[in-house]
């Protein structure tokens, strides 16, 4: 039964269970992550086109999302302890991102290939794209 120190198992006994040990982060680790997150927020704002006027074109959104992904990874691994958590808890949470990416993948694949009626073979036919009135 319990992995505790108390081994008497009679009816109605109270057993103290010492089996639970968790990882505790240091103040420095948490504070370091916090400062890094603020710094990355500053980076996000500083390179954003509406603020800085930097013209990165289509890469602009990708860079912003990449920085956000780094921030998210820091929150998940350290603040949420995923780095020290079980494989199953990691899978439960990160698995959702994989399935979510399927929703993104097919929905956007549909949208971005809708303008040609025959993308595979034959003569492509231009059709009106949704949103172009």
């Amino acid at each position: 039964m319990a992995h505790g120190t108390d081994t008497s198992h009679g009816h109605g006994d109270t057993v103290v269970d010492h089996s639970h040990h968790a990882h505790v982060c240091s103040f420095q680790a948490f504070f370091g992550i916090y400062v890094t997150l603020l710094f990355l927020t500053f980076v996000t704002v500083a390179i954003a086109e509406p603020v800085s006027g930097l013209h990165l074109g289509s890469a602009s959104m990708l860079v912003a999302m990449a920085v956000a992904a780094v921030k998210a990874a820091l929150v998940m691994t350290v603040f949420m302890h995923l780095r020290w958590d079980t494989a199953m808890n990691n899978l439960a949470f990160l698995g959702s991102l994989i399935f979510l990416s399927l929703l993104f993948l097919f929905t956007l694949a549909d949208h971005s290939t809708r303008q040609v009626a025959d993308p595979i073979g034959g003569t492509p036919v231009e059709v009106k794209r949704f949103g172009q009135d």
């Binding site: 097919f106 694949a109 549909d110 595979i120």
Partner: protein, 545 residues
Amino acid sequence: MTTYVPDIEKAPEAGSRKEPSYLDVTKGFWSWAGTLDHKRIGLMYLVGVTAAFLCGGILALLIRLHLWTPDGAIFENAVYNQVFTLHGVFMVFIFIIPAIPASLGNFVLPLMLGAPDVALPRLNLASFYLWLTGTIMAIYSILSGAVDTGWTFYTPYSLQTQQAVVSMGLAVFTLGFSSIFTGLNFIVTIHKMRARGQTWFKLPLFCWAIYATSVLQVLATPVLGITVLLLAFEHLYHIGIFDPAHGGDPVLFQHFFWFYSHPAVYIMILPAMGVISEVVTVHSRKPLFGYKLLAFSSISIAVISFLVWGHHMFTSGESEFVMLAFSFLTMLVAIPTAIKEFSWVATIWGGSVALTAPMLYAIAFLIIFAIGGLTGVFLGTLSVDIHLHDTYFVVAHFHAVMMGSTALAFFAGVHHWWPKMFGRMYNETLAKISAILILVGFNVTFLPQFAMGSQGMPRRYATYIPEWQIYHQWSTVGAVILGIGFALMLGYLIHSLFAGRKAAANEWGGVTMDWESPTPPNLYNFDEEPVVTGELYDYGHGAKH
């Protein structure tokens, strides 16, 4: 191997039990309404989903009677739209999605794991009340003006019709979260509550099926939740996300809807497959053929089901490129599905098969599921689907999968675990008659629908051309046979609760842990904490009992 004969003489006497059964341990309304016991919650679901099935079934019968004549015999056209919508909503969201996991799964899963309860009993009760709330909201939507969109709520029509779409959307949202919490609870239960010695490959296949189902419930249902929420906003405030009049794309609604609703088909069929695995092995007294293949095929069906939703949208204006991709990926589903069908047949082959009532239901499942599965391949084929889309062929196909397979597996499971649940046995002769009536009735109902669907009879129409009348009339006759079969079943099951003979301790000679508990089980299921030592599905050992 010989056929198992239950030791009816040694049926457990009330006095011989160490502890009272879960049915006797407490009495009164609140001992049920406030219970945290997975078995009582399972039974409350069983009553609830059966009532929903009854409502949906009566609506189905009305639809079939209406279609007796080409001009429609009963309803105004607009009322007909409401009737088939209610039939769909009741059968899909209120009956079939919770049917097997929430009722049979709740009852059997902890028993199969040798556990005293699910991991989160309070959440379990909460999901039941969410289900009840969602059902009441759905009934409210019916009374406050009814919904006539079909269970798919496609925009833009669903935005122009009655306001009741809003409350129906919120009902589906609530039912969705009930389903999510049940699935979440079962995943945790399977991970954390297994008996000592019960490794993953000593899990009965019903547990694997429930696990795969739960993954779908947890990952797919939230997308339905946000979709119906946005639909309600759209209807109330015209936010434009799905409304072409405000710049939205109705095809995006369909992407979101089917991202859930295709996996939802597997939320329905996977637990059914689990039930059939258990019934087939017990009543053939033979270990399942290809255990690991069956287990992994459940998981792979769950994963592939996220890759194929676009096959519902071949005529909706998605791009040709994704149509080809979805059509190809849809074919992949056939592989694990066929593995299952062949494994069951191979399990029966050479076994000492007892043609009991649960086994007859399971055999009916195997026949109808083969029809339903194969016609799915037709519909997944892009070019063929352009012709068959939105015809009675589709109607017949998904009824073969949902009703002819999932509902039949549900009833196979109900008959299989009935003696364990109540300690009473139903009249087996009547049960066999009703199983045969349902098998015959199903095929008389839906084979003509395949035929007229392939000739172009569109679904959801209140009227039709006279050339199809003969098909429709056969279909209606079949529906009446089905109705008689189900009414008979309801009759003898209720009768057995009061007058059925006492069930044997192990009525079918099952060898998984659900059959090791006292019959009916104790409040915390077992007399002693079970430990798994032997092989799974070992009938050589079990037959000596």
